[in-house]
Amino acid sequence: MTAAPYNYNYIFKYIIIGDMGVGKSCLLHQFTEKKFMANCPHTIGVEFGTRIIEVDDKKIKLQIWDTAGQERFRAVTRSYYRGAAGALMVYDITRRSTYNHLSSWLTDTRNLTNPSTVIFLIGNKSDLESTREVTYEEAKEFADENGLMFLEASAMTGQNVEEAFLETARKIYQNIQEGRLDLNASESGVQHRPSQPSRPNLSSEAAHVKDQCSC
């Protein structure tokens, strides 16, 4: 219970968006639990998951907000765009309509996040090659036109799932290193936690104190 409270240097906030049924929750589950969740229920509002990853020897905690794709939750889920450092925009390669809606998802993301937010496009269900409706080339072109990173992945087999989450983190980290992302901006979606608690965070100061206490 008293393990070091911050065994990570940064917190990155992610949001996963896309049409209903494209596999957003399954991607999250595959990434955090390394398992495929069959019969995944519809998300009500939002779900949340975390995982600590490593980029350039820095430990980064990803806080991932998985939103409901259903239109009726749109009002609530929109508020979670606020302060996202990374946005994973998902479509289903076997359903053309989910791809066609990408431009509206993109508009929403650009409107509600800050300019430095990294947007990663994921074509999910790449294991279902036989029923494919959207070609890799077409989606790649769309991604390039809009300056998005892009991969096809499968939450079922786990193919490229790690890569998508990690590539996004690398890009965000690179933005920090190159000064394109202001850590002090309130809605940057990135929190820096020095590994040595020389500058204790106010809200969690108490936890630090406890930790150093030897009694």
Binding site: M1, T2, A3, P5, I44, G45, V46, E47, F48, T50, Q63, W65, F73, R74, A75, V76, T77, R78, S79, Y80, Y81, R82, S103, S104, W105, T107, D108, N111, L112, S203, S204, A206, A207, V209, K210, D211, C213, C215
Partner: protein, 483 residues
């Protein structure tokens, strides 16, 4: 509020009575000033009259004989006092005829015109702002104006009246406007800086001073305040504001306290006659229209800079759809009202802090569908028994549930699963009185217990140790149940 400049023909001064103060034996004459519909009383003794007269003789060459002479002996006789009352009345009436167009400052102050009349009140303000306006502005504090002053500024702007050149322009209205246009934070209250004035909604119909002017019946615009970022109204309804459009581009904070308003639309749509009509949703139905297809009506009506709305201490019963006109709202404080449930919050994507302390909320059902991405939620002093409706407000960091009706420790489980929670307040609930309350609450958080501050304090080492044991017990119990 009077305007002698325009209404001097409808002005009268009388002295209906005098009174003798028993202890010191001083006689006060009660002067009644009436300008059109406005009237007020002011008490003066003979000495005040004679001092005024002396100065008037000096400054504006009034006939010295106008004032009835001083009497040393027998000046307490009722017959004499009655006669003097009449003489003084005539004296004031003659002065008023003499100064038909503009009262000299001395006389205006003597008759309290500077308290109740637009022109003379603004002269006082002009003098103040001329002398210390820059200092007041550079202090960057909020500035308090009375309803009467704001009303006077608003009326004066519409008045065709030459600037006063008296005493080197020190009373000039432009000093007031200069100050107003630069002011960033304005507080408007019925009476200025008067703490003894009981500021609650029971005082809405109390007149100002000894006049028949009632602050809540004055309608005004705030057009002079072009750079206002913060606007606070206290014990004064915002419905007195006409034409609030001009404030919308700059206002970031609105606070309205201690009024009888029952709906938020009385604030946000205060100049809109059709409050009943439903505010159209800011959110487009189809995301494709979000960038360009905005309704024109909406863009003009929206409070695009407003980030904080504080309506503590009113009679609000619900959160009506008018909050949608403030899409950038970050902090919404609705403490000490009569709200029973929440609505219309889902469409505020920037909302971070919501305070509903001191309301009548008994149930919170599935609040994660009513609001999203909230960081701080204050629900102190309500009537909440169950926390299940908060179980998926996953973004919460600070949660205040003090002084509610939570009895069961199991209720804590619902909020213990919130992944980001750091501070929790449960004091003042029935469960907080139970034995080992703190360690038992900490136990519900299991591994995260050390990160939690409960009732403003993190757990002590002893509490953590107990919690550790309790947590292990809880877990083994759960495992048994699963089997």
């Amino acid at each position: 509020m009077s305007c002698y400049y325009r209404q001097h023909e409808e002005t009268s001064v009388t002295i209906p009575k005098y009174s003798v103060e028993s202890s010191a034996g001083i006689t006060y004459y009660d002067i009644k000033v009436r300008v059109a519909n406005v009237e007020w009383f002011v008490e003066r003794r003979y000495r005040d009259f004679s001092q005024l007269h002396e100065k008037l003789v000096d400054e504006v060459s009034i006939s010295k004989k106008l004032l009835p002479p001083k009497k040393l002996v027998g000046n307490k006789q009722p017959a004499f006092l009655e006669q003097r009352r009449e003489q003084l009345e005539t004296y004031l009436q003659e002065l008023l005829i003499y100064f038909r167009n503009e009262l000299p400052r001395l006389l205006a102050e003597f008759l309290d015109f500077n308290k109740y009349d637009i022109i003379y009140l603004l002269q006082d303000l002009a003098k103040l702002f001329n002398e210390s306006g820059d200092a007041l502005l550079s202090a960057k504090k909020e500035y308090n104006l009375s309803a009467l002053e704001v009303f006077a500024i608003s009326e004066r702007l519409a008045l065709p009246c030459p600037p006063s050149n008296e005493q080197g322009g020190k009373f000039d209205f432009s000093h007031v406007l200069d100050f107003c246009t630069q002011l960033a934070a304005l507080v408007v209250s019925p009476v200025k800086d008067n703490t003894s004035f009981v500021q609650d909604y029971n005082t809405v119909d109390v007149p100002i001073g000894r006049s028949n002017i009632i602050p809540n019946r004055l309608s005004f615009n705030l057009n002079a305040f072009r750079n206002l970022k913060t606007l606070k109204f206290s014990a004064l309804s915002t419905e007195n504001i006409v034409d609030i459009e001009l404030l919308k581009p700059t206002l970031q904070t609105i606070c309205v306290h201690n009024t009888t308003i029952t709906h938020i639309n009385q604030v946000l749509l205060c100049d809109n006659l059709h409050k009943a009509c439903d505010v159209p949703s800011i959110l487009p139905d189809h995301l494709t229209t979000s960038s360009n297809g905005e309704d024109e009506l909406l863009t003009t009506d929206a409070w695009n800079e407003l980030s904080e709305l504080d309506l503590t201490g009113n009679l609000l019963t619900q959160i009506d759809s008018s909050v949608r006109t403030a899409p950038k709202l970050r902090r919404l404080v609705l403490e000490q009202n009569r709200i029973r449930n929440v609505q219309n919050l889902a469409e505020l994507p920037h909302l971070q802090m919501l305070s509903l302390s001191g309301n009548l909320i008994a149930e919170c059902i599935d609040w994660h569908l009513a609001m999203g991405n909230l960081v701080t939620l204050k629900l102190s002093q309500n009537k909440i028994k169950s926390l299940s409706g908060l179980r998926k407000l996953l973004s919460l960091v600070n949660l205040d549930l003090s002084c509610n009706l939570i009895e069961q420790l199991d209720e804590v489980d619902h909020v213990a699963n919130l992944p980001l929670l750091e501070t929790l307040r449960l004091t003042g609930n029935p469960l907080a009185g139970s034995v080992d309350y703190r360690p038992r609450v900490f136990a519900r958080f299991h591994e995260r217990a050390a990160e939690i501050s409960l009732d403003n304090e993190p757990g002590t080492q002893q509490e953590m140790d107990t919690a550790l044991v309790l947590s292990a017990l809880l877990k083994s119990k759960q495992r048994q149940q699963q089997k």
